[in-house]
Amino acid sequence: MRKGEITKVSGPLVVARGMRGSKMYDVVRVSEERLVGEIIGLSSDMASIQVYEDTSGIGPGEIVYMTDQPLFVELGPGLIESIYDGIQRPLDIIRDQTGDNISRGVEIPALERDKKWHFKPVVKKGDAVKSGDLIGEVKETVLVTHSIMVPHGVEGTVSAIKEGEFLVTDTVCEIKSDKKVTSLTMMQIWPVRQPRPYRERLAPSFMLSTGQRVVDMFFPIAKGGTACCPGPFGTGKTVIQHQLAKWAEAEIIVYIGCGERGNEMTDVLMEFPELKDPRSGEPLMKRTVLIANTSNMPVAAREASVYTGITIAEYFRDMGYSVAVMADSTSRWAEAMREISGRLEEMPGEEGYPAYLSAKVSSFYERAGRVKAVGTPEREGALSVIGAVSPPGGDLSDPVVQATLRVVKVFWSLEDRLAYQRHFPAISWLNSYSLYIDDIAEHVNKDIAKDFTDISKEAMKLLEQEAELQEIVRLIGVDALSPEDRLILEGARSIREDFLHQNAFHEIDTYASLTKQYNMLSICLRYYHQAQEALARGVAFSDIVGMEVREKIARMKYQPESDMEKITSLNDEIDTAFKTLMSSGIQQEQAGEDADVREGIDTESEKQARSAT
């Protein structure tokens, strides 16, 4: 093994000489402690190395071992249900070996070496195969069938293949080409900084339903799409990421905890094995891969963690799965880049971030997408990326936010104003956007209901009207509004409180299927339409607002999916209630109404509406 010598140590940055012949992004081992590092700069025979572990006690004169390999991940059976650090070392096994605290220089393979998997071939001897072709399957968990693919660059005829129990390092298949025979194991490796190839990129046209009403109904993300949720602390970024990891309609979830709290990862580790996937009824952990590089773990490994995560995700995408990657938080990733860049004494761009920040951010998000995978049989996979951003002070002019917004197609704006009012998820319906609405409209309208996008648009219009009316209310008071306008405020309030507000900690409310969402929103709108008509026919505004059926509308969210008729039956109940109201209400109006009651209720609703803007 070739060696270099350290000349400088400055935090996570180490400079070594005698490194001629090494390449950019090669992995090296630093000092006799064999700390993992990666070459991020070369100048004559000097190399700048970012070290993924704590460098205290390291000094000039110590040795740097070159591996001549880039930073790679191991891909194969055993990924699911694992928890890795930023450079794919299994944290649970590290704990068994080195105790409760993470020590340095640990070398443990990512995939368990002594576990046997049942390999079932899907090709036979004599078949011609090429890169990306499926050669066999392993049932990894109840939810995941792991396809074993021919690694890239291998092509030929199958000369031997066998079924049975194998270790990931055992040869399961031999491929003969003109020149040589290649032995394939169930495991392959892939450099993390290089996107895995695909045959063809497809436009995203299916919704990735998340069970979160504000997301699916108003700001949906497509399978293969990208989204970001920036917001100040305490607005629930992590809760949203967790909710999506739990309920998103993806077959594989890769959750990257990048520079965030240790207890949050513990929460995921404890909760996911308990929670059941709403579609399969199996524990969510059976489809999840966790990458945990908490804020107190070495900063450079944070930089690598997002690449490790997305490469694993691409691998499952190539099998034809719909994969979702949650990165919480990409700001910490950018900060790691900034720290390394500062130590390299590079000329900074905005706020000290390196000038290549935006290029790195966009190339990361660009690895998302819906694709046709390389190889046969034909497979279509999707990789969706959802990144949290933590701008300082919630300021959206932050360079990381701006760089992210330029590439992602969905923006969920988390606002502390909503969080203070305990309106969760605190996604602002006025500032957020999704550019996928038209792309996915065709399929949702066909699969769920033909007016799915229509009611969404109508509800959004109502919310926008509310915001405009609030301006007026703030200036001259609610009394200046016509009853029709007040009804708009009421209708919007109902959408906000009865539909948008969703309690992530309530056992039923935490997830709503698209059908339930559709039913709920159409009930809210039905009430509004009926109310409009009643108002036009002369029913008093206070009577409409005070209707008892509204309490049932408010309780819709707590109805389990199995009791859907309790929600749909509200359609009739609303109709009946309005019929009764119209026959009795008009007489009451003529008899003169109780002004006090009316005033009381009006002020109340007005204020609640105001507090939400």
Partner: protein, 457 residues
């Protein structure tokens, strides 16, 4: 082999550049002997070939380029720990300050610690009763949580912290917390207040104090919380004690960090603080928590004063991104003589959901606090409205809410500095106040609890 050098090239601010050094290591501990025979300590910040950049903890006064000698000790900064440290006072680097004998160490530990493996963590969910209603009832603290107090100059954050320290216990287990107190750049008076308070309550023998006062070397402060945590980790995870770490004031800590960063001519981040402030703060805060199969725990209460009461200032902002919630003190409540002046709307405990409820506090806790917050928010809005339009313009219901908010501040949030309320008292007080508001307004409470608690009287 320990080597001594007298080849100082450059001194600037708290930094020293030594050349001709062989074998210096990153983070290595250094001793500097001045001409006057004074011994200072430092650590290596950067080594570049034969040049070592040293940060001097005690500041660079008295150092000259010709005559000073620098000795590289060949190890990183370690501290000897022992459970005899309880009841003792140390300086910011862990040297005895109370005139007592040196501690006979049971173990020698690196002050930087090692990150806790996320798989080894146990989720914090044991309720801590602080006896303060605005915390227990609304922003519940749990064992192993990190909950900072965001305050401003002139606000009584020290009194709040002292009260928490004095009264904290876990119900059912009467064992008290041992306290590790790290003072960074606070005044003698402030430190004395804590010592007096610990003495008065008889807690002093359960307290380890690390004092780096305002007139002590500023650079030493960077190590103080790490020293404190090293002792806390030893007592918690080796000796099985439940530790409450109080760090005051993190703003001074961050400023010391900025001073070093500026001296190194690093590219500054926001407001001149270094770009790695988040990582640095995290390496301190994240050392608290619980570990599976370990009896002890570390709960952290850092105190920081927000410059100009600005929550978006980098120090509170980055702290908020790392800690699990925050207790914010409000100047307007303080002016109204509400004590402790906890701003319950902006304060938050992220871990409360797992620490409250049946078997922990009481079944009705979650519903009750949601309802209280909702009513208080409504009352505050009514108060704002009455400022603009006059109280007469309020509806009857709003008048009730307005009164509720006032009573809530006066009786629930405000309590005596020595008043230690049990969780039952806090919860019952909540219900008592809610009875001011009509039952039909109790939209966030389950009917069963309304019957059981609201209708009780």
């Amino acid at each position: 082999m320990i080597k001594e050098y007298s080849s100082i090239l450059d001194v600037s601010g708290p930094l020293l550049l030594v050349e001709g050094v062989a074998g210096a290591k990153y983070e290595e501990l250094v001793e500097i002997y001045t001409d006057a025979g004074e011994k200072k300590r430092g650590r290596v910040l950067e080594v570049d070939q034969d040049k070592a950049l040293v940060q001097i903890f005690e500041g660079s006064s008295g150092i000259d380029v010709q005559n000073c000698r620098v000795r590289f000790l060949g190890r990183t900064l370690h501290i000897g720990v022992s459970d005899d440290m309880l009841g003792r006072v140390f300086d910011g680097l862990g040297r005895p300050k109370d005139g007592g004998p040196d501690v006979i160490p049971e173990a020698l530990l690196d002050i930087n610690g090692a990150p806790i493996n996320p798989t080894a963590r146990d989720y914090p969910n044991e309720f801590i009763q602080t006896g303060i209603s605005s915390i227990d009832g609304i922003n519940t603290l749990v064992r192993g949580q990190k909950l900072p107090v965001f305050s401003g100059s002139g606000l009584p954050h020290n009194r709040v912290a002292a009260q928490i320290v004095r009264q904290s216990r876990v119900i059912g287990r009467e064992e008290q917390f041992a306290v590790v107190f790290g003072a960074m750049g606070i005044t003698f008076e402030e430190a004395n207040f804590f010592i007096q308070d610990f003495t008065r309550s008889g807690a002093l023998e359960r307290v380890v104090l690390f004092l780096n006062l305002a007139d002590d070397p500023a650079i030493e402060r960077v190590s103080t919380p790490r020293v404190a945590f090293t002792v806390a980790e030893y007592l918690a995870f080796e000796k099985g004690l439940h530790i409450l770490v109080v760090l005051s004031d993190m703003t001074n800590y961050a400023e010391a960090l900025r001073e070093i960063s500026a001296a190194r001519k690093e590219i500054p981040g926001r407001r001149g603080y270094p770009g790695y402030l988040y990582t640095d703060l995290a390496s301190v805060y994240e050392r608290s928590g619980r570990i599976k199969e370990k009896k002890g725990s570390i709960t952290l209460i850092p105190i920081l004063t927000m410059p100009e009461d600005d929550k978006t200032h980098p120090i509170p902002d980055l702290t908020g991104y790392i800690t699990e919630g925050q207790i914010i003190l409000s100047r307007s409540l303080y002016r109204k003589k509400v004590s402790p002046p906890v701003d319950v709307q902006q304060s938050l405990s992220r871990l409360k959901d797992k620490g409250i409820g049946k078997g922990k506090t009481r079944e009705d806790h979650a519903d009750l606090f949601n309802q209280l917050i909702a009513c208080y928010a409504r009352g505050k809005e009514a108060a704002e409205l009455s400022v603009i339009l006059g109280e007469a313009a309020l509806s009857d219901l709003d008048k009730i809410y307005l009164k509720f908010a006032q009573q809530y501040e006066e009786h629930y949030i405000s309590q005596g500095e020595n008043e230690n309320r049990t969780i039952e008292e806090t919860l019952d007080l909540g219900w008592k106040l809610l009875r001011m508001v009509p039952r039909s307004e109790m939209k966030r409470v389950r009917d069963a609890y309304l019957e059981k608690y609201y209708d009780k009287e």
